[in-house]
């Protein structure tokens, strides 16, 4: 257990919570506000976030500081990716155009799960009026609705790994 990395993660969390409370940042409300009242401010926040990470990672990939090809998910997909990497075929990180296996190798169950899961997350987050980060911030501001949201949020971990994991892992 490395304690200083835990402290670093905690400090990042505190800074992000502080700034998110000050800027009312929400990753769902940006697009929702644009569709409902044509307010572009939060959408601009989302896109600057995306573009900042995109540009920084492109620069760092090209300088070989940030390593590409390391599995980007949890354990389940990691296993298949390690197998693929050992066989010398890095399917998950090939370019869409140019050399490489191409688009057909990307079409698997996880693509469909990502699309459907994202859709479900978007539609439910619109109804409760904020993404997960925003709900944490609202709870810290004293919103009791978000308190119930977070109780359900943390209960779901225990329920998922006790009862649902056996059935839902077969989706991948």
């Amino acid at each position: 257990m490395k304690i200083y990395i835990s402290i670093v993660l905690g400090v990042i969390g505190i800074i992000v919570g502080f700034l998110a409370q000050r800027s009312r940042m929400c990753f769902v409300a940006g697009f929702r506000d644009y569709l409902l009242v044509r307010d572009k401010e939060l959408l601009l926040g989302l896109f600057t976030f995306l573009v900042t990470i995109w540009m920084l990672t492109s620069i760092l990939y090209s300088m070989n500081i940030l390593k590409k090809g390391i599995p980007e998910y949890g354990d389940i997909v990691v296993r298949s990716q390690v197998e693929i990497a050992m066989n010398g075929l890095n399917v998950k990180h090939t370019k869409l155009f140019g050399d490489g296996p191409g688009i057909s190798s990307l079409l698997n169950n996880f693509l469909i799960i990502s699309l459907c899961g994202g859709w479900l997350m978007g539609i439910l987050s619109t109804f409760v009026g904020g993404c997960v980060l925003r709900q944490h911030v609202l709870f810290a501001q004293g919103n009791i609705d978000s308190f119930y949201y977070l109780i359900g949020f943390y209960c779901a971990v225990l329920v998922y790994y006790n009862f649902l994991a056996k059935f839902l892992v077969t989706l991948y």
Partner: protein, 160 residues
Amino acid sequence: MRRWYLKPWLFGIIAGCMFVFAEVIFNLYPPTAYTFCLTCHARDFINTIVNLLFKTNYQITFLARRVLMTTSLCVMAGAFIAARIFNEFRFKRSTHPILFFLTGFIIMITGIIIFGCPTRIVIRSGYGDVYGIVALTGIFIGILNGTTMLKLLSKAKFSD
């Protein structure tokens, strides 16, 4: 104290730089793009504690085997500090407790399955992950459908 607001685009730049550089400087991988995620880090935190207490073998990521993930608690702490400093802390009564509970429940399970809360999905799409971009597209389609339903609901409410 005088009110001080941060523009959302500044939040985007600060948080984006912080997440990428934290991963590079402190070697926060594998998995990559994992410096900030509220579902995954909460999952790791709870599963680490449960594994310690009950000797179970629930799924945690490689990073969580050497680090205690305290992100979600610290986000709440940071937001609480900000709300207290700028006098924005006030209790708001609950309107639909069961609805919010169920929504949080479903969103956590979805987040565990697709590996990320909306924040991490944006981070992953920034890293050039195809599945992240697909999930972000899914979120946009979901918001589109959700706002349409909200509009229809409000129209039905006002016509009565």
